[in-house]
C-alpha cells in the first residue's frame, strides 16, 4: 500500500505503514492465543472474566485499523469528493463506544457481585495426575501473557506519530497499560486464595474502570475529530504545527497581505482551507494555484488544499501570528 487518497506516501511513511500492518496482524494473532489460553483457566473469578473480555475487546482497534486502511487508500471520486479518510475516525469511534459499553457492563457486574457478597469459588484441576488449585494456573497464565503488549505497544507507539494515526496511537497506549489488567487479576486471584473473597470483585472493578476510561478517551477523541475540530497532533495534545507553518508559508508570498487557515483532521490527512487577503486587492488564478501547490509540498498530510482570496479573514480561522 503506497497511497492515502490522492497522496502518494513518502518512503518513511510507506515503511512505517508496512510495519504497522505487520504489528497489527501479529497483535491479532497474539491476542487470539491469549484469549484461548485464558479460556482454559477463567473459572469463576470475576477478575479473570473481566480481563478475558478486555482481551477480546482489545482486538477491535486492530481490526478497525486494518479495515479502515482498505478504504482510506481510495482516491477521491464524484461520490466521495473528500476521499474516504474518515473511515479511520469511524473505526476509532466504534472501538471507543464498544469499550465504553462493555466496560460499564462489567463494572456493574463487579459492583453487584461485591454488594451481594458473592464468594468466588475456585476449585482444582487435574494436571499430569496431580490435583492443582486452578488459581495457580490463573496466576501463571496471566503472568505469562503480560509480556507481549510491552513489545507491540512500544513498537506501535513509535509508528503512530510517523503515520499521524490516532487509532494506532490509542491502540499502542492501551497495550502499554495492559500489564495493569494482568497485575490486577493476579491480585484478585491471590486474594481469593488467601480467603479475601472481595479482592476478586475489587480487581474486576479496577479492570473495568480502566476499560471505561479507555472508552471515554477514545470516544471523545474520535468524536472531536469527526466534528471537525482544528487539526491536532497525533496525541491530541497540541494544535498541529502545520497550521502555523502554512500561515508562515503564505506570509512569505509577496502578493499575500494577511492569511488565516482552517485545518481539519480527516484521519491521517488534513483538509486545508487557506484564506488570503491579497496585497493591492488583486490576485491571479496562477498565483492561487501556486500557493495551493506550495502548501501541499509542506507535508504529505496536506491532502486537500483550497486557497480562497477574501476581503476579510473569517474570525474562526487560525490567523498568522
Amino acid at each position: 500500500m503506497t497511497r492515502f487518497g490522492r497522496t502518494v506516501l513518502p518512503a518513511e511513511q510507506r515503511v512505517a505503514l508496512r510495519k504497522a500492518i505487520r504489528w497489527e496482524i501479529f497483535t491479532i494473532g497474539y491476542t487470539t492465543a491469549t484469549i484461548i489460553a485464558v479460556a482454559f483457566v477463567v473459572g469463576n473469578s470475576q477478575a479473570m472474566r473481566t480481563a478475558w473480555i478486555e482481551d477480546m475487546l482489545s482486538l477491535i482497534p486492530q481490526i478497525a485499523f486494518l479495515a479502515a486502511l482498505l478504504f482510506v487508500r481510495r482516491s477521491p471520486s464524484r461520490a466521495h469528493p473528500y476521499g474516504l479518510h474518515r473511515a479511520m475516525g469511524v473505526g476509532h469511534l466504534v472501538a471507543g463506544v464498544a469499550l465504553l459499553a462493555v466496560g460499564a457492563n462489567l463494572a456493574v457486574e463487579a459492583v453487584t457481585g461485591l454488594i451481594a457478597a458473592e464468594h468466588p469459588t475456585i476449585g482444582t484441576v487435574r494436571v499430569f495426575g496431580q490435583t492443582v488449585w486452578l488459581g495457580w494456573l490463573m496466576v501463571g497464565v496471566m503472568a505469562l501473557i503480560v509480556i507481549g503488549p510491552f513489545f507491540y505497544g512500544h513498537a506501535k507507539s513509535k509508528l503512530a506519530p510517523v503515520l499521524h494515526n490516532k487509532l494506532l496511537y490509542a491502540d499502542a497506549d492501551m497495550a502499554k497499560a495492559d500489564w495493569q489488567t494482568n497485575a490486577a487479576s493476579i491480585v484478585g486471584v491471590l486474594g481469593v486464595g488467601l480467603g479475601v473473597w472481595w479482592l476478586d470483585g475489587a480487581a474486576a472493578l479496577f479492570i473495568s474502570l480502566g476499560i471505561i476510561w479507555d472508552g471515554v478517551r477514545n470516544t471523545r477523541a474520535a468524536v472531536s475529530d469527526l466534528m471537525d475540530r482544528r487539526g491536532r497532533t497525533y496525541d491530541d495534545r497540541h494544535p498541529h504545527p502545520l497550521i502555523a507553518q502554512t500561515n508562515r508559508y503564505l506570509r512569505s508570498l509577496r502578493w499575500v497581505d494577511r492569511s488565516a487557515v482552517r485545518v481539519r483532521d480527516q484521519g491521517q490527512v488534513f483538509h486545508v482551507e487557506a484564506f488570503v487577503v491579497p496585497r493591492w486587492g488583486r490576485v491571479t488564478t496562477r498565483q492561487l494555484d501556486d500557493a495551493s501547490a506550495g502548501i501541499v509540498r509542506l507535508d504529505w498530510k496536506m491532502q486537500d488544499v483550497v486557497v480562497v482570496p477574501v476581503d476579510r479573514l473569517p474570525e474562526e480561522a487560525d490567523p498568522a501570528t
Partner: protein, 174 residues
Amino acid sequence: MAAGERTGQSGTMRTPHASASQRLAMGALLAATLVATGCGVQIPADPDGTLDRVTGGELRVGAAVEPGLVEVEGGEPSGPLVDLVEDFADSVDAEPEWTIASEETLVTELEEGRLDLAVGGFTDQSPWIDRAGVTRGYPGIPGAEGRSLVLLVPLGENAMLTELETFLDEEVGS
C-alpha cells in the same frame, strides 16, 4: 516512564493510574512472598473457615434421596455417596452429621452456613452452580450410571472444595 519515549509528555497524565497499579503489583508481590516463604498461610483458604472447623470436628452433611446413590431406611442414610462422604470425613478426622432434605432445602442451608457439604443426584449440569460451590464431575462414583456426579460445598469455601476434590481424585478418579 522511559526517558527516550516519544510520548514523553504523557507521563504526567498517567501517573495516578500507574501508582494505583503499582500498589496492586506490590500487593501481588507481597502475597507471592507470603506463599514462597510458607509462613503458615494456606492457599486456597476458606473465607468462612469451613475446612478448619470440620477438621477434627463435626461434618454437617445434607443428603437428597436418589435411588442407587442415597437411600434412607429408618432415618439412616446409606448408599455409595454416603459411603464416600464417610470416607472423606475419616480423611479429615471428622464425624458426619446427616440431614435428609430436598435439593433446594440443602442448597439453601449451604447458603445459610448450616451445612458443610451436600450430596444427592447432583451432576455437572446442576442448576445450583450460582448458589453453591460445585466440585468437578466424577463419573467414576459407583451407581453414577453414566452421570458425571458432583458434590456441593458452600460458595467460595475454596480450601474445603480443594480438599474434597483432592480426596475424590484419589478415591474415584476424575
